[in-house]
Subunit: 274 residues, 2 copies
């Protein structure tokens, strides 16, 4: 067991994401993860070092520290040999300065800082759109949507819609496929005018049964044979109607959202720090 | 204007976040950003290089490439002198191998990979909670919530709730402060039992008027004097009742969410790759 710290003068999100990514390359080791965000004064830097030193002593092992401090008024106070400090600014900023022929600005927390109103409103509008139409869509909503996700209930549509809205400002509508849709040869009537906007989600029937069973155990809705029937019919419909689709079973929400962006060619909006 | 590429064998999210963070240190330069995700075969690596070389020729300048390729079957094919390649694996993995005394696994896309069902269900449950209670909360919802955000309409409660749910699996309820709440000396009646769970959001009245005006221009709701009144009364209430609060005007959704986590001491759930 090793302890890993994420130390930042801002939110810590960049340090965490970089760290999680690199730690995933060491699958055999168990890591305890601690985020120390908003380290923005020399006193807080000293406090963070104390925490790290105490952990080193407790663990009898040097902690690993992913550090994204940039403020020159704070960074010099965060130095120690009792941890392995990995700092992407140290690693990359001087290379970037030479390449760009200009010094860096040492701005704190700049990655997630103030968005302009247009970007903010775009994200909010997309979030509101997703929330308003999660329970059922009207024809005019489908017209407004950038993308329409189709799939059986609990196949992952809602969190994917919200991720796409929150991070990329994309308006996603959500159409649940139900047994009523399985009979016909063509697309469900409501969807027919919007073939180009459709993207399907499917899921392993076993996982679907597990997910549905969490909320409504022992129901017909969550029964293994019913889940298998719905998934098979939904996949047949998507193949028949040439709806591109993705299996969500082994993908995280992040992977689903970015894969859909990539496949559909929709543009990532603003600087949503995904 | 310089072009920046984010090249990944997975989603590209880590490369983007790291890159945005470092590019923010060069405020004077305009960057064109291009993500090339899912580069997971030698052919795709060659295709990515072609894209980058074409851009270099067009720009008459070397692009900057943030690269998080790890697959040893792909990575060797992604080499060029016509771009500045910045690769956190190259920079950090061998240091981590020495520190941990074990070789890395070169697993692809491991950062955002398959979550266990418990973590997934936690995120989904929190998202569903946020969505179900955005339009109005009942007493039993407040009992179930991990956190209750209070603030005037359009102060940023909804996106913050969703971010906390989606990324950290935290159940956040949302209580809009309205003129009816401003009269009384104490907390609004519904909130009184849950003092410990409350966290306030406030906003500059000018920004509030702008945001409200986008949806309902020239309304009483969006009028400057009404926004000022509501914000002043809401802040007075929060101070009177000792509700900790944050001004959302100059913060992104990411900053809001992580600042609230930090101030309330709520735990980040699972490995939500925020």
């Amino acid at each position: 067991m090793r302890t890993v710290f994420f130390v930042s003068d801002g939110t810590g999100l960049t340090a965490e994401m970089l760290g999680h990514s690199l730690l995933a390359q060491f699958a055999g080791i168990e890591f305890k993860r601690v985020t120390l965000p908003f380290i923005n004064t020399p006193e807080k830097a000293a406090g963070a070092l104390e925490t790290i030193h105490a952990q080193a002593e407790k663990d009898k092992n040097r902690p690993i520290v992913f550090c994204t401090l940039v403020d020159p008024a704070v960074k010099p106070y965060f130095r120690t040999n009792e941890a392995l400090i990995l700092d992407p600014c140290d690693a990359f900023v001087s290379l970037m300065e030479s390449e760009l022929g200009t010094p860096s600005s040492h701005r704190v927390g700049a990655a997630h800082a103030i968005e302009d109103l247009r970007v903010y409103m775009g994200r909010i509008a997309a979030v509101n759109f997703a929330m308003a139409h999660d329970d059922g869509v009207l024809p005019r909503d489908l017209a407004e949507a950038d993308l329409i996700l189709v799939g059986v209930s609990r196949s992952g549509k809602t969190p994917t819609c919200l991720y796409l809205a929150l991070h990329f400002g994309i308006k996603v509508a959500n159409y649940p496929l139900t047994p009523e849709d399985f009979g016909s040869q063509g697309l469900p009537k409501l969807l027919a005018p919007w073939r180009e906007k459709l993207f399907g989600l499917t899921i392993a029937p076993e996982r679907l049964a597990e997910i549905r069973g969490e909320r409504t155990p022992n129901s017909r809705y969550a029964a293994a044979d019913n889940c298998r029937f719905e998934v098979e019919e939904a996949e047949a419909l998507m193949r028949r109607c040439n709806i591109p689709y993705l299996n969500t079973t082994r993908l995280s929400i992040e992977e689903l959202a970015t894969t859909i962006l990539h496949r559909t060619g929709l543009t990532r909006f603003g600087g949503g720090a995904g």
